[in-house]
Assembly symmetry: C2
Homo-oligomer: 430 residues x 2
């Protein structure tokens, strides 16, 4: 017959196995990060190439494509290694469905590259295709962050996801700015989109800072290339401070270079984040194993003990006062265990410690995850618009973003308003 | 090399395995429900026995204990059958830790019964010990409800948990009222506690009604014993409508009987709920398997196809407009799949369908789970009071309940206020 202690040990084993999962997905997240980084650069180069009608970056493009192919092969290998057997990965349904999407996008890459090389695409269309694929890759990271059950690990994964998303906005700004400079002109609609990218990046980085560790915050502070930052701000000012006008196409290269310097710096911080995440997982697993070992020792010791309940334990149990009806596992009267009062007491302590530890972990986890809900809000608002306004996902997102830009509000605030108006939207429907 | 489609199939397999878990835990929930029912009755009988100083229910008590022993043996067998291998049950850490607590409580039952039989306990202390154990058993049901990932199943589990919790309040009222009638007197403090039990029960039943299906709501309406209900209301009025005073101890039996009739009716509804839950799980699993089969057929068909990308697919991909950066898996440009345009298109459709289905399931799940958060709120408020006021869990719960009663507010509202004051509580600490 399984005893209470054996379930305590089973609970601990589950906890360890729940810690092993973020360890495996962190490895995946790293490889995803490398491919995202390479694709971001390919997107930027393609943009300049297309906007300059093949005059610029014709030599860099095939080099960058080769780098991407290597990162893609690595990622495909990682996918291959994933244990896709049902039930081995919590959140598996969502994670694997994201991966299916990414693989479809990767299969389409060669065709996209042909269309870039033969210049049958506008810079905006090329950007859109890359943005799509990268957004699918980031969704894989999001699912990894959403499935961690340890609050400290979840914290770092939230920091990681937001940092990668912020870096993606920086990458979009590089591509957008490169194309705009190369085209030689800017108007107020382009400027508004540009500003929006800057704000989006800043907001993501702020979440990263909030959820990060002191050492990572310091790495972020010290690693920034101030010269590149100053140059980027100077070029931003040139493009954004006049209503509309002509831009010097030669600045496209300068813009691309200073953005690339900044983004490469960000990749270094991302790698630091990945290292810290790995160390944290290792530490937590080692700690869980040590505690499991202790519990197993006690279980072994117990097999050698006498098995009579003592009157002392019975007395203690009788004096416990009335308790709340919604009380959790932590308010038991001391049980008359078959192990005698001392050992019985220590098992009860362990049960109570474990229950309250799991409880406070779950509370903390809820707080950390609240930040992931922001993203879900936008998804839900989009879904609502798609259903009730018969819009494509694309159109729904553009509608949200345009409203946010027009009203100078955050995207999540607009999403919240849309969801609050759900009843009115439904009333429109037949 | 695994294709996008094979990950789609893996995602579907995970979904099915996520459906099989509530099916297994539902079986466990049923057995828990039977033991809870038997313990509730044992608690009521013990209460009358103690409050009447052994004059009443001396014959019924050992019969009910025997019934409880049988239900306990069943539950222990169910625990025994649980697959405690790490990782096979999501939420395993919390579930197993709850079970460890329950097993400790069950080990202590014989001692508790001895103290009841020898009348060394007050009715209140005996009630407290049973309340504790039953609350541990309901926590097992709560964890089962909290781990379901399908929103429809989660809905029914939430209805089930709240119904069982409501029935437990009804059981507490039976024990409380039995003891009070048997003691021959009532005062305003006891009356206030009594009122609180009635309100708590009504609130839980309301949640059950909100989350239930029409057929279960009808079962609930039609199964109520109106005669027993009228008798219960009459006795409640007698005990509650005067400030304080003397009660006829002979009414203890009448009170116990009409409460028991009502609670037995509730057990029948609980069984109906369990049936419906089982059918729902079966239906969802069958549906998931049928869809998995279709996808596997397509995968098999694909192995026989030509493997060239077509220019038509490439053209289509090129015309997709710019998309949002937070876009999900559903906005891909049509990929140049290795399967030719028709099949490639159908895979993409499947990827998109699956992604948006998972998305909307996750949205709905969030809504359903919000009701579980109420309970978590109270737990968190209790934890906060325990830490900052150096209270036991028991004292913390009593403080919350007393405040709710004094201010005539809901327990969750008080809990929310406590959490909102967290900063002030911390400021008190040294």
């Amino acid at each position: 017959m399984k005893s209470g202690l054996s379930f305590l040990i089973a609970a601990r084993r589950c906890e360890i196995s729940e810690l092993e999962q973020p360890m495996r997905t962190s490895a995946l997240v790293n490889v995803v990060g490398r491919l995202v980084h390479a694709l971001q650069k390919e997107r930027g180069i393609s943009n300049v190439f297309l906007a300059s009608r093949g005059q610029r970056f014709a030599a860099q493009l095939p080099l960058q494509v080769a780098e991407c192919r290597q990162a893609e092969a690595e990622l495909r290998t990682s996918f291959e290694k994933l244990d896709t057997d049902a039930g081995h990965i919590s959140n598996g349904a969502r994670l694997f469905s994201r991966i299916a999407f990414v693989l479809n996008g990767l299969d389409a890459l060669p065709g996209l590259r042909t269309r870039v090389a033969t210049m049958v695409l506008t810079p905006a269309d090329a950007t859109a295709a890359y943005v799509n694929l990268i957004s699918g890759l980031l969704a894989v990271v999001f699912e990894a962050a959403d499935s961690a059950t340890n609050p400290e690990i979840s914290r770092l994964l939230v920091a990681m996801f937001n940092f990668m998303q912020g870096k993606e906005f920086a990458g979009q700004e590089r591509a957008f700015g490169s194309g705009t400079f190369a085209s030689g002109r800017v108007d107020s609609a382009l400027q508004q989109q540009w500003q929006h990218l800057i704000h989006s990046e800043e907001r993501c980085v702020q979440v990263f800072i909030d959820f990060s560790t002191p050492s990572l915050r310091e790495l972020w502070q010290t690693s920034q290339n101030q010269t590149a930052l100053a140059e980027q701000e100077r070029l931003r000012r040139m493009a954004l401070s006049f209503k509309a006008g002509v831009l010097d196409p030669n600045l496209s290269q300068a813009w691309f270079d200073c953005c690339t310097l900044r983004i490469d710096t960000m990749k270094a911080v991302e790698d630091g984040l990945a290292d810290e995440l790995l160390q944290l997982c290792n530490r937590k697993i080692a700690q869980g194993r040590a505690e499991l070992h202790d519990q197993q020792m006690i279980l072994a010791a117990l097999s050698d003990q006498t098995v009579n309940a003592s009157p002392a334990a019975a007395d203690r149990a009788g004096t416990t006062g009335a308790t709340g009806t919604t009380g959790t596992a932590a308010t038991a009267a001391a049980p008359d265990t078959p192990y005698g009062p001392q050992v019985g007491r220590s098992i009860l302590d362990m049960v109570q410690d474990q229950a309250s530890r799991l409880q406070s972990m779950s509370d903390e986890l809820e707080t950390v995850r609240a930040s992931l809900n922001e993203r879900k809000l936008v998804e839900r608002a989009k879904g609502l618009l798609m259903t009730h306004r018969k819009l494509s996902e694309d159109e729904a997102y553009k509608m949200l973003r345009q409203t946010a830009m027009n009203q100078n509000r955050r995207l999540t605030d607009v999403a919240q308003s849309v969801l609050a108006m759900a009843d009115f939207l439904s009333a429109d429907a037949p």
